[in-house]
Symmetry: C3
Subunit: 436 residues, 3 copies
């Protein structure tokens, strides 16, 4: 059986130019445009609660191999992995009261890289002051250790976020992801950071990938969460306002209708904001409680050009909220680490969709459309950020002086509470989604 047309074939793969990625947006090593821009911000490097004084940890941020540790007096430190003396890894070092000590010859450095002792040298190192271990400033806040890897004279104050302050009675901040081996230095993804970050400004993948392609994946869908109509891929685009510029980034809003216990239908808005350079303010997609103050931030921190680490903090009564973020999407009813290869193919999720874009997606091959408006806008903002840094200007969200409390606009909000008569025409299957 022949499937070719009778005329000459059009649109075949033959003769296409080689594909390429947008290096300016994706590459993060020292002296790259995006790498320099990202070095103007504080980035999470460890969970405070998981980072104890027991052992140092290896990590990799913006293409640099680092060791993160907490000294015996409680100070967190981030230093180059290789010892300044002869290059052995400080991962094998010993954490002491006032610093970290290399295993090979016993040189000890404090959290600012000062050499405190050269164990086997005369006088424990008469010239130890010249042996400075490269280090980076760190600060702890909200249960995370943050690091600043940029030019010292441009170091901004560590940002503050309203959603992570003013805790109510019984609330705490949780930052330790429940994945063995990734609880200290973040959840690892093995593809370019921007693929993960852009996903937050890609509203419609929720409708297709997470609901339609292989069945509903959001835990709680149709019960305590969103009605099936929320996920209708064929009407979603009409319900979205894609590009809403905020003080600190970008937001999209999706209008939806919620059945109320009194038989009315409320107009709701799902509002999802990202803040530059790499922060995702993800509303609760499992348990919908309207008009609640936003409660979580996620950072997508590039390890290098082809991998990243995700960090997160939630303000909650219990760590369950954080577990819902990491494990709230099921594929074939299972958690991502429980899937067989065939199940991954039959029931793909975020990891399959994003990692299969490649180590760095090939931007030259993309065909962007309406639903990519926020992705396009986000890239535009990131390009401006890079341009500003190159031009010597302060990029977005870099402050001077005292840190101001930043607002986050994410959340699920009631637009018209109970005023709208239930319209089965607009959302015919809403009834199925009624609570209890």
């Amino acid at each position: 059986m022949t499937v070719t047309s009778s005329g000459q074939d059009t649109g075949t793969g033959y003769g296409r130019p080689a594909s390429s990625h947008d290096a300016r947006l994706t590459e993060v090593g020292p002296e790259t445009p995006m790498g320099e821009a990202l070095r103007r911000y504080w980035h999470p490097v460890a969970s405070s609660s998981a980072l104890t004084s027991d052992l140092p940890h290896r990590t990799r941020i913006l293409g640099e191999n680092l060791v993160v540790f907490r000294d015996g007096s409680g100070r967190p430190g981030v230093v180059f992995e290789r010892c300044a003396h002869r290059g052995s890894s400080l991962f094998y070092g010993r954490v002491e009261e006032d610093g970290i000590r290399c295993c090979y010859h016993g040189w000890k450095f404090d959290v600012q890289g000062h050499c405190l002792e050269q164990a086997c040298e005369p006088g424990r190192g008469l010239r130890r002051d010249v042996a400075r271990q490269p280090w980076y400033p760190v600060e702890e806040r909200y249960g995370l250790v943050f690091v600043y890897m940029g030019p010292p004279d441009r170091k901004p104050p560590l940002p503050r976020y309203e959603c992570l302050e003013n805790l109510a009675d019984g609330e705490s901040l949780f930052s330790e992801v429940p994945v063995p081996g990734q609880n200290v230095t973040g959840l690892v993804g093995d593809f370019n950071w921007l693929q993960a970050f852009e996903n937050a400004m890609d509203p419609v993948h929720a409708m297709w990938l997470h609901y339609t392609h292989s069945g509903p994946q959001f835990e709680g869908t149709g019960t305590i969460g969103f009605p099936p109509s929320y996920f209708d891929p064929y009407t979603v685009s009409d319900k979205i306002r894609y590009n809403i510029t905020t003080d600190h980034g970008l937001m999209y809003r999706q209008r939806w209708q919620r059945d109320q216990p009194d038989g009315t239908t409320a107009d709701m808005d799902w509002c999802f904001e990202v803040q530059l350079p790499n922060i995702i303010a993800l509303p609760d997609f499992v348990e919908v409680v309207p008009d609640r103050r936003h409660d979580c931030l996620i950072w997508i921190v590039p390890s290098d050009d082809t991998s990243y680490r995700a960090f997160m903090v939630v303000r909650a009564q219990s760590p369950d909220r954080l577990t819902r973020i990491v494990l709230g999407i099921k594929q074939n009813g299972k958690l991502f680490f429980e899937l067989t290869e065939e199940e991954k193919q039959r029931f793909p999720g975020d990891f399959e969709a994003q990692s299969s874009q490649g180590p760095i997606t090939q931007h030259s091959e993309e065909t962007l459309a309406t639903s990519d408006k926020s992705v396009v806008a986000l890239r535009r903002m990131l390009r401006k950020m890079v341009d500003d840094v190159e031009a010597g200007r302060d990029p977005i969200n870099v402050e001077h002086g005292q840190a101001q409390l930043r607002q986050v606009k994410s959340g699920v909000f009631t637009v018209s509470p109970g005023l709208t008569a239930r319209s089965t025409a607009v959302a015919p299957s809403v009834a199925d989604a009624r609570v209890g």
Copy 2:
């Protein structure tokens, strides 16, 4: 103990120039000379029977990552692996009645890459016509799906082969190799395709590697097959006519003698033809039935410069004939996937001999001899094929208009049936090989 000679050593490895491979013969990516030449031919990409509408399959041909699938209406399709929208792999796509649908945002493409729907776009994609998924023409014949990856205006008709047509009663075509995971998209070899293809024009390796080096490896040797004298390495070269140019490629013939049940000895010819660019017409090396019409073709399809996929079709009463091709050679009495590392070393077979030539053999280091005559001739024909394409000429075996039925000259033929008195002088051990 010293083994060096008293004078100055000659022939040592010191100071030899760096080795190299012949890129013009071996490299197959877009815009390489051989890559362009091979793109003028149809190549198998899947077994028709194994390719169902259940799931799409990843493959790689001529350095390009592709997805092959069969839509719900039965049409096979080959498209670029990355979705034209944002690059997620269509391996995670869903096969539908009329095409394949990406998991990420639900864009659907037919087998010619036309975008049929952009699920989450307004109007399901008002401008979906601009979103063409790169595709390649496919045709099915003889139980294989073939793809054409060359310039559309040069697409030849799919070749026809006499040996795979005009089936007798009870005969079928079989194309599904009995190796789990390789039954759809071919048997994978992890070295350059030419090492596997040349092996077919290397008659004497059968005598040394498969018979002498570590004992007979051909199933059936000495019983229903060839007599031991056939495999005598020390006389084989005299029995071979190396370079016989055929209409479509190259053939060698090996004269041998077969004991007949009536006590006479027949003169036989083993005729083995390859057709350009990459087709092997391997006669049955296990069950010798003289003067039978040839019944099988094997294609060595380059995946990239350092790996290939082999496809095959046999015309037979049962799939056993195909199994004999894939599993007809034993090493230490075992199948290739049953061997320990030490057994591989002690009882090497084709895989060890060819893969240890390296990812691409180093042609600059070869010392070719008499028994390599057909390898040399084959390379010469391949070079002419490349030259012709570069010069804008049609290369060998590219037709225009209707495909003509091609003849294959391989087989085991009786030259003098029973006329020769048995000569124990020529083949002293023939008696051992008598049937039954």
Copy 3:
């Protein structure tokens, strides 16, 4: 909690130039400066006792892939791995009485690469003399097979070492390391050879890494071996004379004090010599018997730029002495191959310290100090060796004519036997170390 200082941060990792290694000292491929220099010397390639005529072995030296074998008449041979005919690996070859035979077409080569037979060629190869397999001269001595990979007209005699000759009654030479798979072609390390070689001229790592960092690692420490005072990192530097140039290399001496059974304390010297280009004369670090003739040599032979193979010979009554060299250091009381990943981090040893310096350490980032004096001196001698070869001069330890017996200066020597009254002030914990 903030740990940054109030002023501008100094010494951070930002803006540091890219790091680099010293290629002239470390890279060993053909035509590199160090590669050419090392090609003026004989290097061990196999243990004589472990190299039988049963099977050939793959190895890699100075960036070249080689096969080492012993033919059926007992002659060791080293040839290029790829067969001169069509490139199949001679690892799959068959060892015969007079050479090695390729599995693919039966070409046979002797230990000097002469082609003895081309099995399937007319007349078994009428022009087989042109098919020379690249080979290298080998000689056996002291239980090792040595190879010379340099220019034939510069081949020196194989060196002789006094410490491995004139065996006493009951003594033998042992060269077969008790590690499965590494007993023939050496103990493999997967980082640059110089990191392992330099370690021998790094006296103080014994005090920190092997004694202080995670507890004593030398078997026998404090009992039959050295007293704890020997390992005091804080006083060690004063006891060492770092740079003592010897006839063949470099030595350091460490003064220490040993309690004698008669209550006196003897002044002792630990003398450790390395000889160029890559020989370590390691004194017994487990069982201290003063003033004994030295009994072992270790060669660090580069496989390529990022891996090496260690060979060793000991003159001893039993192979236990050799086992003590390979397995005499315990980590957490275990052998290196018994450790979990966490134990490696908590109880690092030589492998962790040296391999974590990287595939090739980054010399541009080092901060060398007093205790690195011998490392610095060794590098200087190696640079001179490279300079000499480049300038056409004979480098150190290359002889002409008959090999002269070389002395090795390593050992543990009594400087003042029993003359010194025991001084608890100098070595307060010496009492704990008294023998039995």
